[in-house]
């Protein structure tokens, strides 16, 4: 092995094409005879479609609906379940539900046609908020309670603990919708090659797309080839959502026989795409008379929107992270995903963990206030340690180095001195948060559901190609995986190549989600590379493969949610300092300091880039990304001048450090990290603002006008 540590930065594989402007994204491809398309969507949140009145369609223009689904095909997009329809049929469940696809050669004409369509509805009464969904406003439309799922996990007997507690502190924390705002909007081109369907698409999970449309098209998987195009950001927004584009496009291509492009404009991408689940988390925390926490009863509800999509899985992650980085002696966590007539909520960086991690952090601060101590003092007492029992009665298997990380952040930020001198309500505040993120799929999902494979091919020209379905979406995965392979083979970096996956050529290494790709797929490639290295002297081409093997000794029961929900976690500490303008309530962030345990970073520059970006996205989530939804209009803030994401002016330079804490089952000791870095800054920010204005904050986001209201009326 070479001398330099693996983490020493190299040039990203995709840097040159992107910096020189030669990189093509979906909308840069032009196919011969390509047609364009526009989605026609429901404009009411709930109702029956009474009539669709179409303007006359000029020659060469089509309106594709559920009636055009090929024979034997089913009107479904198979995500986790088969409950999501490709096209609305009879009724509509949310504003933005796909009714049809207008297709034709001229985009201007398509726009005019779209405006000429009149759809008549018999409108129902929609439910929009969590409360309305739970109350079954307008009558339930999922089961008899509007719940996609409802489950509870117990550690010890919380009822007993609450009954004998010296006091019980109740709390409720809410978080709002969040839009991904990947700079490249959703986009795809479908076409036919021979009797195979090809879909070129900006996406995270090409094999998910293939799976979702096979039943719709009534075709075996092999007949549908998905080619990922270079993806201009995703953050979870291109995990299942590309299925919503792929389905109608393929139905249209089947009928029309020409390549068809569907590119969302920014307005559509904001108004009619999936979002982060809004959440409501309630706590009943039992304290003894010395202020020790005896137990917590935690009730988590996520607003899932109109279809389940991956909400059950998102909720599981939320529930399993509900106690944060703290070992609470007795816990009960109940999770419910409620159906509402809103655009389905879906994957977004953190995948359900950010909501509950935010809630527990804020709640711990409120407990500290009740007890009259610094939140940090309270939090430190309950830090997870190796061997501790989790809320699912499994174990923390990591050597947890939160204290060391805290030390780094304290030193860099001057936390102790600032916390002591900035008086509550003085307009200045510093806050601190702790968080983790369970690595890869929950429990034994990697073994039972994903069964990842990875392939390496040393071609005749001596170049080694990585053949996996994992995708680059900006996070630096191509670089990380290629680096692992080059290191193991001990060859020059530029002899390892890794193109965007094509499902007909690569091994299914599982979806590019759950911060699993470096840790799981990287490990598989490490093993495939080790085998290739042994066979290196063989003449000609070499192909090696590796399949996922679950480490022994980490029991998990998926039917009861008992055991080790995650073998390992990434860990984080973040401090944020703010100043609040006494008149405008504008919050100025003065400093952001963080420390993360990602095992061993495969590339420090890539990891730092993820930290910077994840933290800013998390600060945006808390500070400014307000997204409202109304029964009449759907999402309200849809353009980039209404839905406000952080600019270069909004947050200051960051100080980010890493600790070295190798994970034995990861490649070179690496763990997942892409989501971890989103999970905590929002809570540190809110802690800081709460102190600066001496007001408890129970809901995010908190733009200045909301803060002003809050200070007038109290939380």
């Amino acid at each position: 092995m070479r001398e330099t540590p693996i983490g020493t930065p190299i040039r990203r594989l995709d840097a040159i094409s992107k910096a020189s402007g030669t990189q093509m994204y979906l909308s840069d491809y032009r196919f011969d005879g390509m047609l364009y398309s526009r989605m026609v969507r429901s404009t009411v949140a709930r109702g029956r479609i009474a009539a669709i009145n179409m303007p006359p369609l000029p020659d060469g223009y089509y309106f594709i609906t559920h009636k055009d689904i090929p024979e034997g095909g089913v009107n479904e997009l198979y995500m986790i379940k088969k409950d999501y329809r490709c096209f609305a049929e009879g009724d509509v469940r949310y504003i933005g539900e796909t009714i049809g696809l207008l297709v034709g050669p001229d985009r201007g004409v398509l726009l005019d046609l779209e405006q000429g369509i009149v759809i008549e509805y018999e409108e129902g009464v929609p439910s929009i908020s969590i409360e309305e969904g739970l109350a079954c406003k307008g009558g339930p439309f999922v089961g008899d309670r509007n719940l996609f799922c409802d489950f509870t996990i117990d550690k010890g007997n919380i009822d007993e603990v609450l009954a004998k507690a010296y006091r019980v502190v109740e709390d409720e924390i809410n978080t709002g919708w969040q839009e991904h705002v990947h700079l490249e909007t959703n986009a795809a081109v479908a076409e036919k090659e021979g009797d195979k369907f090809i879909i070129n698409i900006s996406c995270q999970c090409p094999f998910y797309v293939r799976k979702s449309v096979a039943g719709l098209m009534n075709r075996p998987f092999e007949d549908i080839i998905v080619r990922q195009t270079t993806t201009g950001g995703a953050f979870g927004g291109k995990e299942h959502f590309p299925d919503i584009l792929a389905g109608p496009l393929l139905v249209a291509v089947n009928k029309i026989g020409k390549p068809i492009q569907l590119v969302f404009d920014r307005h559509e991408d904001g108004a009619f795409s999936v979002k982060r689940h809004p959440s409501r988390t309630r706590f009943k925390t039992a304290l003894d008379k010395d202020g020790n926490i005896l137990g917590m009863d935690i009730d988590v509800v996520y607003n899932a929107g109109a279809y389940e999509s991956c909400s059950y899985v998102v909720l599981q992650r939320g529930v399993f992270h509900a106690a944060g980085v703290y070992t609470i002696p007795v816990t009960r966590v109940r999770g419910r995903a409620v159906a509402t007539n809103t655009f389905p909520s879906d994957a977004f960086r953190g995948f359900g963990a950010p909501q509950t991690l935010f809630a527990i952090e804020v709640h711990m601060c409120h407990l500290a206030n009740e007890l009259g101590i610094d939140p940090l003092e309270l939090k430190k007492r309950y830090f997870n340690k190796k061997g501790d029992i989790t809320v699912t009665n499994g174990h923390i298997n990591d050597t947890v180095v939160l204290s060391e990380m805290l030390q780094q952040v304290m030193e860099a930020s001057g936390y102790a001195q600032k916390a002591a001198t900035y008086k509550p309500g003085s307009g200045k505040g510093i806050g601190i948060s702790f968080y983790n993120h369970g690595g890869a799929f929950t429990g034994n999902g990697e073994q039972m559901i994903i069964k990842a494979k990875a392939k390496l091919h040393r071609r005749a020209d001596g170049i080694v190609a990585i053949l996996v379905g994992s995708t680059e979406m900006g996070q630096g995965l191509q670089t990380a995986l290629a680096k692992i392979v080059a290191r193991v083979l001990d060859v020059d970096q530029d002899r390892v190549v890794y193109d965007n996956p094509d499902t007909s050529c690569v091994a299914d290494s599982g979806p590019t989600v759950a911060s699993r790709s470096t840790m799981i797929v990287g490990k598989l490639l490490e093993r495939a590379a080790l085998e290739m290295k042994e066979r290196w002297e063989e003449p000609g081409e070499i192909i090696t493969q590796a399949e996922y093997q679950h480490p022994e000794g980490y029991p998990w029961d998926q039917s009861t949610f008992q055991g080790d929900a995650y073998i390992t976690y990434g860990w984080g500490v973040c401090a944020v300092e703010v100043e609040v303008d006494p008149l405008t309530r504008e919050v100025i962030t003065k400093g952001v300091w963080s420390s993360h345990d990602v095992g061993v970073p495969i590339d420090e520059l890539v990891v730092k880039g993820q930290i910077h970006g994840g933290i800013i996205q998390s600060l945006g989530y808390a500070a400014m990304e307000k997204l409202e939804n109304t029964a009449k209009k759907g999402f309200k803030q849809v353009g980039l001048s209404d839905y406000i994401i952080p600019t270069s002016m909004d947050f200051p330079a960051q100080t980010a450090t890493l600790v070295h804490n190798p994970y034995p089952y990861g490649p070179f000791g690496a763990k997942g990290m892409g989501e971890l870095v989103f999970n905590g800054a929002s809570a540190a920010f809110i802690d800081a603002v709460s102190r600066a204005v001496d007001t408890e904050i129970r809901s995010i986001p908190i733009p200045p006008e909301t803060l002003t209201e809050l200070m007038k009326h109290g939380a």
Partner: protein, 166 residues
């Protein structure tokens, strides 16, 4: 549909296009000149992904009418690469500093940074942040982008000193 001829200089070459008078500069440059480094992040002037230089000043080309480009000098990211295919120092700095992630915002940021790196007055990090604040990036948190611009600006100022120019 009214058409009009527009003559302008693009990346140093004189070009002439016959266009629909309603088209934007970005549509003309992408559609007629295949300058695909110009990205459409919003098409309504809110994200900066379509930034090009017009007579040396950055503009959102998606909300700049193509007909206004008559007689103007336009520079796109493609124009920063020399005839031998060598990229410029600012592009190199974006690569070296990790300022490129998904890359969709990158062309716009690089174009917006040109007035900063070509100016004789050094800009502070705060000023750099201000000058590129019309460009949105959802991936990088801006930190490494500011690093890349700051580094190139310093390098260029040094070079100008060295070559005796002011």
């Amino acid at each position: 549909m009214t058409r009009k001829t527009v003559t302008c200089t693009i990346n140093g070459k004189r070009r002439e296009f016959s266009i629909d008078v309603r088209s934007s500069l970005s549509e003309m440059l992408r559609g007629e000149a295949s300058l695909d480094s110009i990205k459409h992040g919003c098409d309504v002037g809110e994200c900066g992904a379509c930034t090009v230089l017009i007579d040396g000043r950055p503009f959102n080309s998606c909300i700049y009418l193509a007909v206004w480009a008559e007689g103007k000098e336009i520079l796109t990211l493609e124009g920063l690469t020399d005839t031998k295919g060598t990229i410029s120092d600012i592009q190199q700095a974006f690569m070296d500093e990790g300022a490129v992630q998904c890359g969709f915002c990158t062309p716009g940021f690089i174009m917006s940074s040109i007035p900063i790196i070509t100016s004789d007055t050094p800009a502070s990090r705060e000023e750099i942040r201000k000058q590129v604040s019309g460009n949105l990036c959802r991936c990088t948190g801006y930190e490494n982008i500011v690093n890349a611009i700051e580094k190139t600006q310093k390098k260029r100022i040094e070079e100008r000193k060295g070559s005796g120019k002011k």
